[in-house]
Amino acid sequence: MQTAEPTAPTQTAITVRGFSSWYGSFQALRSLELEIPSQQITAFIGPSGCGKSTFLRWINRMNDTIPSARAEGTLDLHGEDLLSKSLDVVDLRRRVGMVFQKPNPFPKSIYDNVAFGPRLHKSYTRAELDELVEQSLRSASIWSEVKDRLHSSALGLSGGQQQRLCIARAIAVGPEVLLMDEPCSALDPKSTLAIEELIETLADRYTIVIVTHNMQQAARVSDQTAFFFEGRLVESGATETIWNKPKNKQTEDYITGRFG
């Protein structure tokens, strides 16, 4: 399904040119060059501390909460400069959703978790909100499991359910990009599988960027793979190519498990 019709070539959603970033005097990322295609799944792989999460957090400007973080270069979403000082980050984060490593549902009901985001941005009637919550939960394939207890606490759900709820919550504000920072690393294999299947269905509608430490996961779910090492983007391209014919020795060593 991902192999789009030839008449509709894949568009570039996010363009990265000469992108570098620092925490204080520590340079976390060095001159990245990358294009993230629209409505496909791009996986960031690489050893811990290689900068892939840092980069992810620049795409929705979560790094703004860290005073010492700064960046240079080009980072565009459909031609819009994401590093601009005048950018409305509140609006950006509505368009670029994020799912975190550890499920972080709010200590509220399941319903209120999903409704929290939409309510921030505009006022809905009860019926509209009900509809939106149901759709979001359906999209995150958790509706059937929670439809009878929408008003009980989200903290009563299992870890895997909580993570799918967090995905539903992110979807509810209608983003076009979904950033996922190791979304399965705190989950058991069965929940991981459920999330992976979910991610694949979501790629029809959203541009997905997923950071993962799990090589098999990257191979299973992604269309594109980017390999980060020590703050540099070593290699990127179609996942098949990276896995079968990596151009770079480091990439090959990493994905075959020889280091990292």
Binding site: N60, M62, T65, P67, V90, D91, L92, R93, R94, G97, M98, F100, K102, N104, P105, F106, P107, K108, S109, F116, G117, L120, H121, S153, L155, C166, R169, A170, V173
Partner: protein, 311 residues
């Protein structure tokens, strides 16, 4: 190589330490038990509806705590209504909004220090700032400005003098640092991942605080606030300095009324030579304890009720 210690030696040490801890606990419990027993023996018989609703009197068997009880409730209500919003807002600013600069560090250190200042110092401050208003309106006893009639609920005069409003404001100063620190700790206990989750959905800082952080911190804030209130209701020194009257004929009618409070009433009765007044002082202490336990009970209740959705 260190000598191997036999299991029996270690077990013995373990038991000795346990005994020591138990003994320490027992001493504390014993003192409390003796205190309570003494007060109850002396004061239980004096507790009656008449005592509760009675006005002050020169005769012990006719004297009641009504005026002092109402005074305490008025002062505490004013104190709580002012200290809670002010303290919570300050804590929210310091924890959630302010950049960590030299200025906020100084403010933070000051608040910590203020929490340790003896309450009598606040009494002096209250006397200067609220009761006399720095003498800005003259030093005589005459009020500089009055608003409304003296009998109405909305009577106001400046300076405040030894009124319930001045008393409530002074106690507010006493508990403000406690409320701020308790709220800051409650806010710090809210996981950063929740804030990040809200920011990632496009919430502004204010929406995050109001929608996520504050609700999650409410149990901690309420517990801290009510413990602070229990402190306020037991304070006597600052109100004594302020001129909280030891003999007032009636319960407060408006913010400018003179007032008595339970601790001062107890002090007044206990310091008299007659045995019969010591007995009603004990009765008043029991009443004060009941009010205290009630406050703490509310704190526990709120915490349990609000923490349920968090589990």
């Amino acid at each position: 190589m260190a000598a191997v210690r036999s299991a029996s030696t270690r077990l013995l040490a373990n038991r000795a330490f346990l005994t020591l801890c138990l003994a320490a606990t027992s001493i504390a419990m014993l003192v409390l038990a003796i205190l309570l027993l003494a007060i109850f023996v002396q004061g239980w018989s004096g507790l009656s509806w008449d005592f509760l609703t009675g006005l002050p009197s020169r005769k012990a068997d006719k004297a009641g705590v009504f005026v002092a009880l109402m005074g305490s409730l008025w002062v505490c209500a004013i104190c709580g209504l002012l200290a809670l919003p002010l303290g919570v807002a300050t804590a929210v600013f310091l924890e959630e909004f302010a950049q960590k600069t030299r200025f906020t560090r100084i403010v933070q250190t000051n608040i910590m220090n203020l929490a340790g200042v003896p309450s009598i110092v606040y009494g002096i401050l209250g006397l200067t700032a609220f009761a006399r208003m720095f003498g800005a309106f003259g030093t005589n006893v005459e009020d500089a400005i009055t608003l409304g009639s003296e009998e109405s609920l909305f009577f106001l005069r400046i300076p405040f003098g030894s009124s319930v409003l001045a008393g409530g404001l002074t106690l507010m100063l006493v508990i403000l640092p406690v409320v701020i620190i308790a709220t800051q700790e409650a806010l710090r206990a809210v996981p950063g991942s929740l804030r990040a989750g809200a920011f990632a959905l496009g919430a502004t800082r204010w929406q995050t605080v109001w929608g996520i952080t504050l609700p999650a911190a409410v149990p901690g804030i309420m517990t801290g606030a009510i413990l602070a209130m229990s402190r306020a209701i037991g304070e006597s020194a600052p109100l004594l300095v302020l001129g909280g009257a030891l003999f007032v004929s009636g319960a407060p009618e408006n913010l400018m009324s003179d007032f008595a409070v339970l601790p001062l009433q107890i002090y007044n009765w206990a310091s008299r030579p007659q045995e019969s007044f010591h007995a009603i002082a004990a009765s008043a202490i029991i009443l004060q304890l009941v009010v205290l336990f009630l406050f703490n009970g509310i704190a526990v209740f709120i915490r349990q009720k609000l923490q349920k959705p968090l589990q």
